[in-house]
């Protein structure tokens, strides 16, 4: 007499129960905690997690949490379904028919604790990487490696720093004069800063770049001239395969300037 194995059903039942509890927690309990923490009425550790009250309304936090909660629920459901399939006897017979029976576990002399540790490491590393691939996110050192993934168009823009001397203006070379920054990191850093931060913050960052420049100049790391001001420009080019316009962009837009006193 064949015994029907109820394990997949048990797994599905547990999955549904977990989903139900999670939904309750995610869509009723945690939003309440977020609202209280936003107003500083929750535990100190939770209040400290939310610091952007000046620029981000509470609805924004709740919206972000809602997206995250949905993603977690979907993943819980997916994991439950996968586990149910893996414990289904028909699936296991299908795999055994193709790969042969699995070796007995006790041929490994490793302790159960060691096996569990290794399994946890494997699941963590592979799981995090697959998560980032699936969600198109990055959690360094895990990432979806999205560089070069867009479609490059025929025009481009870039940020550059110029130094102003007594009689001229010179483009600074970050790799030599603004270390540890390089030209790519400068451009990306200011791309984010110009969009997100108030003018005062950008000016402070320019001032920090000047300090890096001046420290390098005084220590002899580079032979750049003494500067009177630092300017941030946004440049635009129409890409030309002959590079004829590389030094003459179609558009040069000054964004910020700081003056320094020596």
């Amino acid at each position: 007499m064949r015994h029907r194995c109820p394990t997949p059903l048990v797994v599905l039942a547990i999955t549904l129960a977990v989903l139900g509890l999670s939904a309750f927690a995610f869509f009723w309990f945690i939003p309440t905690v977020i609202i209280r923490a936003y107003h500083g009425e929750s535990l100190a550790a939770l209040n400290a997690l939310i610091r952007g009250q000046a620029t981000h309304p509470v609805d924004e936090y709740l919206h972000d949490w809602h997206d995250l909660a949905l993603a977690i629920l979907v993943q819980e459901a997916a994991l439950g379904m996968i586990l149910a399939v893996l414990t289904w006897s028909a699936f296991q017979r299908f795999v055994d028919a193709r790969l042969g029976p699995p070796p007995p576990v006790n041929r490994f002399v490793m302790s159960a604790r060691r096996r569990a540790t290794i399994s946890a490491v494997v699941l963590l590393l592979v799981g995090m990487q697959i998560y980032d691939i699936a969600r198109q996110q990055a959690h360094w050192p895990f990432s979806n490696y999205s560089m070069y993934s867009g479609v490059q168009q025929g025009t481009m823009w870039w940020f550059r720093i110029a130094g102003v001397t007594r009689d001229r203006e010179v483009w600074l070379v970050p790799e030599e004069q603004l270390r540890p920054f390089d030209s790519v990191r400068i451009a990306y850093a200011f791309q984010n800063l110009v969009l997100d931060q108030p003018d005062a913050a950008v000016n402070l960052e320019l001032r920090n770049l000047y300090e890096l420049y001046e420290a390098g100049r005084r220590s002899g790391a580079h032979g750049g001239p003494r500067l009177l001001a630092l300017r941030l420009y946004r440049l635009e080019w129409r890409l030309d395969p002959s590079l004829a316009n590389k030094n003459t962009p179609e558009k040069i837009e000054p964004l910020y300037e700081i003056r320094v006193t020596n």
């Binding site: 997949p8 002399v109 479609v151 870039w158 300090e211 395969p241």
Partner: protein, 442 residues
């Protein structure tokens, strides 16, 4: 009759067995140890190249600080410039210790913890670069593994102290896991391109503009990209091949060595091509070569290759010039592929493949006999020798050019005819009475 609880427990036992079969597969401690040596050696080279790039971040304004996930989660601070410099100076010898396998477990864990912070620090300032994240993943895997059980000073010390080696199942999973993580990097890049751009990534002028764009923002080492952009079919073909190769990267985990090597060569070629036209990811290319070349098979072949001599050299031991020549040949024989015989002193010791030669003929000119019995003399003998002597390999570049063998033979004949009149002292032959009986009458 089995109870319901026993039936219910079997599916999970099956899962446990399959999981152990895949993730805890047997492997050789020597293979893991060898890879440890290569990996930490490469990370050491990386740390030397980046020595001056870490400490200056301490002087950067906190307004640039955009912490990555784990730096934010763990609330890791930016240490002072002096502390960062000290940490870099500590990290490098730790990497050396891990490479040679001394205090391996402590060294690997310390290398991982320091590496996570030092490698990760710059990525919190404005932009996350993706070239070295995979190094941190490798450091984590080696920290948890038992990679010091072979190819290490710890294993030698353990053997001297009669210490028992770690259990089975410990040596396969680290390499399998790291290889999987390496392949997932390129696969992730392919998925991102597919999801963000779809077919337009290949069929549009995307690669055309990307190759030009890099000359405005970076400094590609060559102008090869600007050459390819002249031909629409070329850059679209390159884009299609590159995307296909990135998607195929998980196939590097296949068991078949030939297919793996072909795919590896293609992927490394693609990465080098990227490096010449856009940006070079040296770290990734190095890891691909370290973890996907079949070192074990190469080692076995090298042992077989050097075990049996490939050539026998027969020379006139009474000739001073010949003695100097074979001395040089012996010094150049780095792969131990040549056996040298003096036809006067060693005639009775010659192997069977030389049986058809006459001693008189061997006294007139130097002979080289190959493993297949092929006999060469004169210029052709030296050309055959060049194949077995690594420093002779450049000679092969022009040794087969028409005309060169003819000239070589004339030169050899001229030198051979004058060798006894060259003025070099001819030492007394070192023959015994028995050997003297075998000498040929002049």
């Amino acid at each position: 009759m089995r109870s319901v609880s026993q039936i219910e427990s079997q599916p999970f036992r099956w899962l446990q067995a399959r999981w152990s079969q895949v993730c805890l597969a047997d492997g050789a401690a020597s293979e893991l140890g060898f890879h440890r040596l290569l990996f930490f050696g490469a990370v050491f080279a990386y740390s030397v190249a980046r020595q001056a790039e870490i400490a200056p971040w301490a002087a950067v304004s906190p307004f640039f600080w955009r912490p990555t996930f784990f730096f934010a989660l763990l609330n890791l601070p930016v240490l002072s410039e002096r502390t960062l410099t000290v940490l870099m100076w500590i990290w490098r010898p730790i990497l050396c210790l891990a490479a040679i396998g001394l205090f391996t477990r402590l060294g690997c864990w310390t290398a991982f913890l320091l590496g996570f912070y030092l490698i990760g620090l710059p990525h919190n300032f404005g932009k996350v670069n993706h070239n070295d994240a995979i190094i941190v993943v490798g450091l984590a895997i080696f920290a948890v593994s038992r990679c010091g059980d072979a190819w290490s000073l710890d294993s030698l010390i353990g053997a001297a102290r009669n210490r028992r080696r770690t259990e089975r199942g410990e040596y396969g999973w680290p390499l399998q896991l790291y290889r999987l993580m390496i392949t997932l990097v390129l696969f992730a890049a392919a998925m991102a391109k597919f999801r963000n751009a779809g077919a337009a990534w290949v069929l549009s002028d995307n690669l055309y503009y990307t190759m030009i764009y890099h000359h405005y923002t970076h400094r590609p080492p060559t102008d090869l990209g600007l050459f390819f952009v002249r031909f629409p079919w070329a850059y679209k073909l390159i884009a299609g091949v590159a995307l296909s190769l990135e998607f195929s990267t998980p196939l590097l985990l296949l068991r078949s060595i030939r297919w793996r090597m072909a795919l590896l060569a293609a992927i490394v070629g693609m990465m080098v091509g990227f490096g010449l036209t856009l940006v070079m990811f040296w770290e990734y290319v190095t890891l691909l070569l370290i973890f996907f070349l079949p070192w074990q098979e190469l080692g076995v072949k090298l042992v077989r290759y050097t075990a049996k001599p490939a050539l026998f050299v027969l020379y006139d031991g009474s000739c001073g010039l010949c003695q100097r020549t074979v001395a040089v040949i012996g010094a150049l024989d780095l792969l131990n592929r040549v056996r040298i015989y003096d036809v006067l002193a060693d005639w009775h010791k010659l192997p069977e493949r030389c049986s058809e030669l006459s001693q008189q003929a061997c006294l007139q000119t130097m002979y080289v006999v190959g493993a297949d019995g092929q006999v060469c003399m004169g210029f052709h003998a030296y050309r055959a020798l060049a194949w077995q002597l690594p420093l002779g390999w450049p000679f092969l570049l022009f040794a087969y050019v028409p005309g060169v063998p003819w000239i070589g033979e004339r030169v050899y004949t001229a030198i051979a005819a004058r060798r006894h009149a060259a003025g070099c002292p001819i030492p007394a032959p070192l023959t015994t009475t028995a050997h003297a009986a075998e000498r040929v009458d002049p």
